[in-house]
Amino acid sequence: MNRLVLWFHKIGSPPTFYRIAGALAPWCFGIAIVLGAVALYGGLVLAPRDYQQGDAYRIIFVHVPCAWMGLFAYGFMAINAFIALVWRIKLSEILAMASAPIGAAFTFITLVTGSLWGKPMWGTWWTWDARLTSELVLLFLYLGVIGLYHAIEDARQAARAAAFLALIGVVNLPIVHYSVVWWNTLHQGQTVSLMGQSKISSSMLWPLLTMAFATHVYFFASLLARSRAALLALESGKEWVRGIAQAREAHAHG
């Protein structure tokens, strides 16, 4: 076995991961909150009013980062689902299933904030155009993965079935991303581009990118916390989990 595989096995062993995740998660939560607060201040107070959309455009600072996270979380889930199916690594199953509710939360926020932005700008809460519809499909895919995972009694079998569904749903990702290019939609085209020039002033761009960074860090914070909880439940018969439960009990009554 090469060194990378060995390293992965060590990190991937449940007690080790539980410990490391427990040490990292509070830092991630803290950094996410601080960055998020800075981004909110920049977006709500410092950034100037948009000459076309007035102050309504400020919804972009939560809408767009959450939309990115909806796609990012799905990609992360799909990669782990693939690893779980091919190599049957327990930790990958857990990571895949832990990212589903976080991605669903971000997608839900995207849809609601988009609706709140659409009403004053387009005059409607909802329209069945390509971007909105594919985003709704993304939410349903997340809910399908979560539902399937909870519907099957055996947790490991459930994770594999749900991982399979997650992989099939990957086809929706390019549809969401390119929907504004492929179809003539009511939704505006992309403002920020990794390659090439962004169509936004820097005073508006930095709060947006800061919030994007904050939501990424938040994703990992929530992921670690969820994975820890899931590991405890999955390994509840094992010695190391009993140890944690007993230590907690001793602490509560001591």
Binding site: F29, L40, L44, V45, R49, G54, D55, A56, R58, I59, V62, H63, C66, P101, I102, A105, F108, I109, V112, T113, L116, W117, K119, P120, Y218, A221, S222, A225, R226, R228, A229, A230, L232, A233, S236, V241, R242, I244, A245, Q246, R248, E249
Partner: protein, 57 residues
């Protein structure tokens, strides 16, 4: 301050969007804490049942 809350007439939309963002993520962050506590309680109860069974012949 009132002008800030007013958001050029779009206050209701902007603040509703930010509220949804904060509330949903807050709920998301609480869920694993709650899950973890429940799991540990269940394990605890099971361990106690097991030790009771052992001590009563």
């Amino acid at each position: 301050m009132a002008e800030f809350l007013h958001m050029g007439g779009y206050g209701a939309y902007v603040w509703a969007a930010y509220t949804v963002f904060v509330v949903v993520l807050f709920a998301d962050a609480l869920m694993p804490l709650w899950q973890r506590r429940n799991t540990l309680r269940e394990i605890d109860a099971r361990l106690r049942r097991e030790s009771n069974r052992k001590s009563t012949p």
